[in-house]
């Protein structure tokens, strides 16, 4: 059953996002699905426009990676009226769940928790001053990953966040902000660990740490989220300690659910959670890098 699926992607702001797009296209190809792709350039209005046009074109299903949680009720209703099932990718919306078929994604807050737990375990009862590189101010990953991490360290007074600034999810800002952290915290002497909301910022920060004459990974522990290839290189060199995987392959499960639903109307669960796997230096980073590096990151 070859169907036409519209995919409204947020944009292409990071390597991870690019990988998600690539994998989605691959998946569609493998399953003989005709994928209509719309890049919204980070703008919700464009995503809404896209969904409306998909409806106007009468596609069979819609994949939506929502840029923000709110504001989808109307357009999702329109899709429902037109009897087009919608599957959410990698981020949730706060509309009632009968407006969409299912949501495939990880629990952003859980990711933060995983990272936090690792750090707590790693430092034991040593005191540990953490500096945090937040994602883009106001973006849901930034908010949730911060919340999750704080939840994880809440019980442990020896671990506390001493500085927290936004690095806009980018390497450049990650590096710049880390430099200022190092200056502000006595040349980095007082920093025990870095928690970055994504790997790109961590990679940037690692360079800053090295240029400051410190050893990332030992002088300053580095834990981040996403598991993009480059962070595994860093782990390989012992410059990063841990990362939490956010799989870019959200489309696979999504298409499975869709095909099942189309063929015999089986209702999938409302939330298909992907695993938030923790990787550390002991997981043979080299190998993982090799396998990941041609997944379109």
């Amino acid at each position: 059953a070859d169907m036409t699926v519209g995919f409204s992607q947020i944009g292409s702001e990071s390597g991870w996002r690019a990988a998600e797009t690539t994998l989605t296209k691959q998946q569609a190809e493998q399953r003989g699905i005709d994928l209509k792709f719309a890049d919204a350039q980070q703008k919700q209005e464009n995503q809404i426009k896209a969904i409306r046009s998909f409806i106007a074109q009468g596609v069979d299903a819609i994949l939506l990676a929502p840029v923000v949680a709110t504001g989808w009720d109307q357009v999702l209703e329109e899709a429902k009226d037109a009897e087009i099932p919608v599957v959410l990718l990698d981020r949730q919306v706060d509309s009632s769940d009968d407006l969409y078929l299912t949501a495939v994604g990880s629990d952003l807050e859980h990711e933060g928790e995983v990272a936090g737990d690792w750090l707590v375990k790693e430092v034991g009862d040593k005191d540990c001053n953490v500096v945090e590189l937040q994602g883009t101010t106001g973006s849901s990953p930034a908010i949730k990953r911060k919340a999750g991490f704080e939840k994880a360290i809440s019980g442990h007074d020896n671990v506390k966040i001493v500085r927290s600034q936004t690095g806009d999810f980018t390497r450049t800002k990650g590096k710049e902000v880390m430099e200022s952290f190092l200056k502000a915290e006595n040349g980095g002497q007082d920093i025990c660990a870095l928690y970055a909301h994504n790997d790109d910022m961590a990679v940037g920060a690692i360079q800053a740490i090295k240029e400051a004459g410190l050893k990332p990974g030992s002088d300053i522990l580095v834990v981040s989220i996403d598991a993009v290839p480059d962070i595994f290189l860093a782990m390989e060199n012992g410059e990063a300690n841990a990362t939490v995987e956010l799989t870019p392959n959200m489309a696979g499960p999504a298409f499975d659910a869709l095909e099942a639903y189309k063929s015999d109307g089986t209702e999938p669960p409302k939330f298909i959670q992907t695993e938030s796997k923790l990787y550390t230096q002991s997981d043979n980073p080299k190998a993982i890098y090799e396998e990941k590096k041609n997944q379109g990151y």
Partner: protein, 326 residues
């Protein structure tokens, strides 16, 4: 007269041609749905662009509108939500705030003789910063007023909807046309855009007009913010990033000169529709990767402007106007 309306006519023809081409490729782009969407989806942009038209006609520019839209949304969401402020009051309040904000920028531009680009750039930072301070979360709006307004639409034959915001946008455009062409304020805007010194020597109230212009722009940005919050029934501090550039592009595609003094509000509507058409076309096509999307948008933008320039240039040559660009 005819010769002056020429750029406008050109733009209109270009729009029709473009639409025809799209139709040829994707027949159901002519559905009332698409047309309805074109209006609804671009409503907030259109409203803001009308304000931008006045600013640009006066030879200025307003980079703050995107941020003001975001601020408005967040402000409404928080005040009406947690704040429990009655919706209508909140709306009036936010419009008052944005208008005052614009007036302040206008005053700085005039009395401190500072370039609009910079004043409004600072305004852009400031307004979004304020939005962050109110709330970094995206805050849903759940009030009856919004539900009623959202359910307020004409169902056109073929399932298309002419939504409330869409109609609001058209109303604002009409109002804009009247203000621009049938009020003294409108004349003064053109006058200042034409030549500030001369306008002053002809007794145009520069200070008042300048302040009014930016107040109007911010007021409409506030209105656009309301439209946007209606459109998404939420307020979000990261919303509408870069909308100012879309608005500027729409205004210029609509045939208004950034140097000020010449252009039409109606043209801006065309500009909006053309930009919306580009978006819609790309989505209908659906084969473009993220990067090709950007490139194609750029190219289409270019071809529209180039085409326009070409036609205008030809007509200018026929009328034997000066060869040296002013």
């Amino acid at each position: 007269m005819g010769s002056r309306l020429f750029p406008l006519a050109t733009t209109f023809v270009i729009f029709i041609l473009a639409y025809a081409l799209c139709y040829a490729q994707f027949p159901n782009m002519l559905s009332t749905r698409v047309i309805g969407n074109l209006l609804t989806d671009n409503a907030f942009l259109g409203i803001a662009a009308v304000g931008m038209t006045f600013v640009i006609l006066s030879g200025g520019i307003d980079l703050s509108i995107g941020s003001v839209i975001a601020f408005t949304g967040v402000f409404l969401a928080v005040t009406m939500g947690e704040g429990g402020v009655p919706p209508l009051f909140a709306i009036l309040l936010v419009l008052a705030i944005t208008t005052a904000f614009g007036a302040l920028m206008g005053a700085m531009i005039h009395y401190l003789a500072m370039p609009p680009f910079i004043v409004t750039l600072a305004g852009m930072f400031f307004a979004r910063g304020m939005a962050f301070l109110i709330s970094t979360d995206s805050v849903p709006i759940r009030v009856e007023l919004y539900d009623t307004l959202q359910d307020l639409y004409f169902r056109m034959p073929g399932g298309g909807r002419l939504s409330f915001v869409g109609m609001a946008m058209l109303a604002v455009v009409v109002a804009g046309i009247v203000i621009a062409h049938f009020t003294s304020f409108g004349r003064n805007v053109y006058a200042i855009g034409g030549n500030r010194q001369s306008a002053e020597l002809m007794g145009v109230p520069i200070a008042r007009t300048t302040i009014l212009i930016y107040a109007l722009s911010s007021f409409l940005a506030g209105l656009a913010g309301i439209a946007f919050s209606l459109y998404t029934s939420a307020g979000y501090s990261l919303a509408a990033v870069g909308v100012e550039l879309d608005a500027i592009a729409a205004v210029v595609i609509g045939g208004t000169l950034l140097t000020g003094g010449s252009g039409y509000v109606a043209g801006t509507l065309l500009g909006i529709l053309i930009m919306g058409l580009i978006q819609t076309y790309i989505v209908f096509d659906g084969t473009l990767s993220s990067w090709w999307t950007k490139i194609v948008i750029g190219l289409l933008l270019f071809s529209f402007i180039a085409l326009q320039r070409g036609l205008v240039w030809l007509s200018a040559r026929r009328r034997g106007a000066a060869a040296i660009p002013a």
